[in-house]
């Protein structure tokens, strides 16, 4: 099925598009534009280019020339990786896969004309568009904080300089100083992320500043892999971490970046470093394309196409991804489903039923890794979970070490899968 029936009926533009059969374009090959070069975007661009064997023109729009993976950025904070080891270039996607890599911002989408406007002034035409822009923060989500404050109280939830900044602030805390994290409400990018970060910060401070204190103000009553993290915190970082969930006032938070204070349920604390992770929404380009409902872009589980416009596919964090978590692994998994569907639509290649999977590894301390994962299938309603697993508390040291080593294999694998 090459044309999404709902978009055929709904938009005049879709009717026009459907009349000009994609295979017989006056300008030549069918064109795919991908906005966002992360786990979703880089993967979909590579798979379309590789598997179409040059039959499809692929353009990848990504503002960063060096991509720092959010996943494993916590390990850099903890001192387990250096920043260079989580940095990746787009060179191979250009040189070996023939992808047109454009380092620019997409600032507007014209769904009728099927064009993408770039900040630098150029306009790109597409037959199919993939948006994989990640997340942006909801304005005013944390009282007292906005993006101007990110230098004093970093979010470090888009990896790179923000991560480096947070680590530097942690390193310069005074002896016995206080670090506070304001955790985000559901749904957000990387469910175990903030808690792996707490573990990594505790690991780092235990060595350099063992009397330092860590406070987490959390608007949620519980969090991903909670039992496993709390077991690890008790085992490795006893007395260092104070997690204040919603039941203890953790949802009633305001911050003052100038004064460096955090107020939790009316009680104000002076902090020496503070990581504010606000509520999130789809990367703004989705909103500008007019394909969001609320904070996220709803998609068909069968091919990740937007429920608003069948010519646009949305991957990763920005999408309403059903039972899957917003993770890099999920984005990479969804990218392959989308790539197959897009190639089928544009070149008539075979399309198999969508299958998805995810595994999230978190490092709690040296050689103490935990994981959670699941497989999924496409239903008409959503991406639905089929089966899953999670690490158990009380696992032996060799199991936890093996889990950590497995995550190293995965990291090497997914970055090769994304960047070639």
């Amino acid at each position: 099925m090459t044309i999404n029936r709902r978009s055929f009926i709904q938009t005049a533009a879709a009717v026009t598009a459907s009349l000009s059969a994609p295979m017989v374009m006056a300008s030549g090959k069918p064109r795919v534009v991908v906005v966002g070069g992360g786990a979703g975007g880089a993967t979909v661009a590579r798979y379309i280019a590789k598997d179409s064997k040059g039959a499809i023109d692929v353009t990848l729009v990504e503002p960063s020339r060096t991509y720092y993976t959010c996943f494993f950025s916590n390990l850099y904070i903890g001192g387990f990786r250096d920043l260079g080891s989580i940095a990746h270039s787009y060179g191979k996607l250009a040189s070996e896969y023939g992808i047109n890599v454009v380092h620019d911002w997409a600032v507007d989408i014209d769904r009728g004309a099927k064009t993408v406007s770039l900040a630098g002034g150029a306009t790109l035409n597409y037959d199919r568009l993939v948006l994989s822009p990640g997340i942006d923060f909801v304005d005013g989500a944390v009282e007292g904080w906005d993006l101007n404050a990110q230098n004093k109280m970093p979010h470090a939830y888009k990896a790179g300089s923000q991560t480096e900044l947070l680590k530097a602030q942690l390193s310069s805390m005074p002896e016995g100083g206080v670090f506070a994290m304001v955790a985000p409400p559901n749904p957000y990018r990387c469910p175990p992320g903030p808690y792996e970060r707490i573990s990594m910060i505790a690991h780092m401070l235990k060595k350099s500043n063992p009397t330092a204190k860590i406070i987490v103000a959390d608007p949620k009553p519980k969090f991903s892999k909670m039992g496993l993290f709390q077991e690890g915190w008790a085992n490795h970082y006893s007395g260092m971490i104070d997690w204040i969930g919603s039941e203890f006032g953790g949802s009633n938070v305001s911050v003052n970046p100038e004064a460096m204070t955090v107020s939790i349920d009316g009680e104000e604390t002076k902090v020496d470093a503070c990581n504010v992770i606000p509520a999130m929404k789809a990367g703004r380009i989705c909103e500008m394309a007019g394909i969001t409902e609320g904070n996220w872009a709803p998609v068909s589980a069968h091919d990740m196409s937007s429920k608003v416009d069948g010519n646009i596919h949305v991957l990763g964090d920005a999408s309403s991804q059903g039972d899957m978590p917003k993770s890099g692994f999920s984005a990479n998994s969804q990218a392959k489903v989308a790539a197959m569907a897009i190639r089928g639509a544009l070149t008539g290649s075979k399309v198999f039923p969508a299958k998805f999977s995810n595994t999230c590894w978190s490092l709690v301390d040296t050689n103490d890794g935990v994981k959670v994962g699941a497989t999924y299938k496409a239903t008409d309603e959503k991406i639905a979970k089929v089966d899953g697993f999670i690490s158990k508390t009380g696992e032996t040291a060799d199991v936890r070490k093996a889990t950590y080593e497995e995550s190293l294999g995965w990291y090497a694998g997914i970055t090769a899968d994304m960047f070639g």
Binding site: K350, F352, G373, T375, G388, T396, G409, A412, G413, D417
Partner: protein, 219 residues
């Protein structure tokens, strides 16, 4: 089950060389290694991962024979339970051994026994150490490599296309039958690793055959 939980909590990391010393207590009845024969107890080559009561040509007690019908596998947990006090685990066994009281001793001797069992990823023959025997209808499925290529995209995030081994093994070029066995063992939870058990759990027989066919073709 209380017994399982307490064992799990005590599970130690076994040292095979310490296990060799523990095994001296077993040597009067059991052999391992080259030329091992059945004596009053069966040869213990390949015991780890095998079905309880499955050693060829050994005359098991009725108690053991009845127990073997449960199709339970000798693994770290079951061996630990059994060796704590054999007569508690399989009442009326003719194995006249009181048991190993120390958890560390048990872990060590199990690690020692493991070195005489084929627990490597690629098994040398069709019947792997797990004791699983796949029926001919499954082994004879000819997998479609094109379908396998599509399914493989899900695998290749972790099992690298360039066959690199950095914490997750490369799986290119495996013999088809070894591959099929490995995935069925994961599917039936006879092989450890919860990620693989889950991945294999969602694959049908045709899909496993297709993947085997595809990966066999890779360098």
């Amino acid at each position: 089950m209380f017994l399982c939980t307490s064992v799990g909590a005590e599970q130690k990391i076994g040292d095979p060389s310490a296990g060799e010393r523990v095994f001296k207590k077993c040597k009067s009845c059991h052999m391992v290694g080259d030329g091992a024969k059945n004596r009053s107890g069966p040869s213990l080559n390949g015991v780890f991962g095998s079905k309880i009561g499955s050693v060829d040509k050994f005359k098991y007690s009725k108690a053991f024979k009845d127990y073997s019908e449960k199709n339970i596998i000798w693994d770290s947990e079951t061996l630990d339970l059994f060796l704590t006090k054999p007569r508690d685990y399989i009442p009326k066994t003719k194995m006249s051994f009181a048991g190993l009281k120390k958890a560390q001793d048990r872990a060590d001797v199990i690690a020692f026994l493991k070195t005489y069992s084929n627990v490597s990823l690629v098994s040398d023959d069709a019947e792997s150490g797990s004791g699983l025997v796949l029926p001919e209808e499954i082994l004879s499925i000819v997998g479609d490599p094109a379908y396998g290529e599509y399914l493989a995209s899900e695998c290749q995030t972790c099992h690298r296309a360039d066959n690199a081994n950095e914490g997750i093994p490369g799986i290119n070029g495996w013999e088809i039958e070894d591959f099929v066995y490995a995935l069925h063992e994961y599917k039936q939870k006879l092989r450890e690793n919860p990620v693989m058990q889950m991945m294999a759990g969602s694959l049908g027989d045709e899909e496993i055959a297709a993947l085997a066919s595809y990966f066999a073709s890779l360098q």
